[in-house]
């Protein structure tokens, strides 16, 4: 039997009927037609489907759409504002934090919560912080740089070197 749910996705209220077994990621991609949230492994391992639920990063392939009733969801489509891209989006672009881009939306949403809880993380904290997100392309170094850039920008600190081939 279908259930009615009402939730906010990137600030907009959405009401819909879903089967209880509908996974949140399928709801977002197929019913709301926002395809920025990716499905990588479908087994809770890769983090490509990461979104924010009430500000907490979550694997949307492991959560039912009915569980999101009454919640506020943020997906990659909600990161940029009228003023321009989010500092993380800027960082990923400048530092070449992506190659194919498949992991990128999940990686960025995870990093949003990481920086929210810990605005000035060490490199080790960033690496542990994104340990639930797999990237098959970059080797992670430039993802770390992208997060460091966003951290500096959001704190108003001096911006680090984002040259993709720069190694300290």
């Amino acid at each position: 039997m279908k259930k009615e749910i009402t939730l906010k996705i990137n600030g907009e209220e959405v009401t819909a009927e879903v089967e209880p077994r509908t996974l949140l990621v399928h709801f977002i991609r197929e019913q709301v037609s926002m395809t920025g949230t990716h499905i990588g492994c479908d087994t809770s391992s890769c983090g490509a489907c990461t979104i924010l639920i009430n500000g907490k990063s979550a694997k949307s392939c492991t959560i039912l759409a009915v569980q999101a009733n009454g919640k506020e969801i943020t997906t990659v489509e909600g990161l940029a504002t009228a003023d321009g891209p989010h500092p993380l989006q800027e960082g990923f672009k400048l530092a070449h934090g992506l190659h194919c881009g498949f992991c990128t939306p999940g990686m960025m949403l995870r990093a949003v919560e990481l920086l929210d809880k810990n605005p000035d993380p060490t490199e080790e904290e960033i690496r542990w912080g994104i340990s639930g997100n797999l990237c098959r392309c970059t080797g992670y170094n430039n993802i770390v740089k992208a997060v460091q850039y966003a951290s500096a920008k959001m704190r108003g600190a001096e911006l680090p070197n984002t040259d993709p081939v720069f190694v300290e």
């Binding site: 039997m1 077994r21 569980q67």
Partner: protein, 289 residues
């Protein structure tokens, strides 16, 4: 992968949830964080007809240190315990374990209650709870009862929670004396279940004699295992090298690991011995700090 069809309720009170569970009977399954259950449902290893979601019930997620007791609500998330500096003062073991449980997203959702109620010897919190001598509060329509951690795990995926009951609370005694605890597991990669894991808690008197020891083992037995002979090898000693060696040797002999993708039985026994030694040493260091 999509689970088989089921019905879903999200009651707002514990009473309502218990009534629902009773009405629906054995086709009902409790949904907590969902991070063990939903993956199993996607693989169709579990096909419950009705999920009773506990997430809308207030008051089940407290984490508080209250004099001589640490109380953890069954619906407290892994991250709630991981982030609590108050808990970490006496029980740094929770930070040790959290870092090795899955990843940040999973810890945002997975609950302590679910980690225990799942009854999986591969989960990490059961061994921690064995080392810390936790008591579990299980609530049914007739009221609540308390079960010691040693009476909780019955068999593969089986616990003392009966049909129609909900695990509501975990309480952990704060021992008096010098206390140290530590957890470590060997994992092949981040997010993997343990090849083997060891939780240790030591309580020492003023001159450093061990007055009690708790040692729990992860994923080397059909159920989470208390290493009783290892504990006995430490109590009454100054936890010197000989006592540590004897305790670690006993743990490696008393566990029952099976050979699988994570390693052979022999290898796992050696891993248990090594980690047991290291965790006793770490707990000792923390007790003396």
């Amino acid at each position: 992968m999509i689970p088989a069809s089921f019905d879903y309720s999200a009651p707002n009170t514990l009473e309502e949830a218990l009534k629902l569970l009773q009405e629906i009977g054995d086709e009902a399954k409790i949904l907590a964080g969902g991070h063990s259950l939903i993956p199993m449902m996607k693989l169709r290893f579990a096909e419950p007809e009705h999920l009773v979601d506990l997430n809308n019930i207030p008051g089940l997620s407290e984490v508080s240190m209250n004099g001589d007791t640490l109380t953890i609500g069954a619906m407290a998330r892994e991250v709630d315990v991981e982030d609590s500096e108050e808990v970490a003062k006496v029980f740094p073991i929770f930070k040790d374990a959290a870092k090795l449980i899955a990843d940040p997203q999973v810890r945002n959702f997975g609950t302590l209650g679910g980690n225990l109620a799942h009854g999986d010897a591969a989960n990490d919190q059961p061994a921690v709870m064995l080392a810390l001598n936790a008591d579990l509060e299980i609530t049914g329509l007739d009221g609540a009862r308390t079960v010691g951690i040693d009476e909780f795990f019955y068999g593969f995926y089986m616990t003392a929670i009966q049909e129609g009951e909900i695990l509501t609370k975990i309480t952990i005694p704060v021992p008096s004396g010098k206390v140290g605890n530590a957890y470590h597991k060997l994992e092949r990669k981040v997010g993997d279940y343990a090849t083997a894991g060891v939780a240790v808690q030591l309580v020492l008197d003023a001159d450093g004699t061990c007055i009690s020891a708790g040692i729990g083992l992860t994923n080397v037995n059909a159920t989470p295992l208390r290493a009783e002979r290892s504990e006995q090898a430490l109590v009454g000693t100054k936890v010197d090298d000989a006592a540590i060696e004897a305790a670690a040797q006993a743990a490696s002999e008393d566990c029952n690991p099976s050979s699988d993708l994570r390693g052979s039985e022999d290898y796992k026994r050696r891993v248990v011995k090594t980690i047991t030694k290291r965790m006793i040493a770490k707990a000792l260091e923390r007790a003396n700090a």
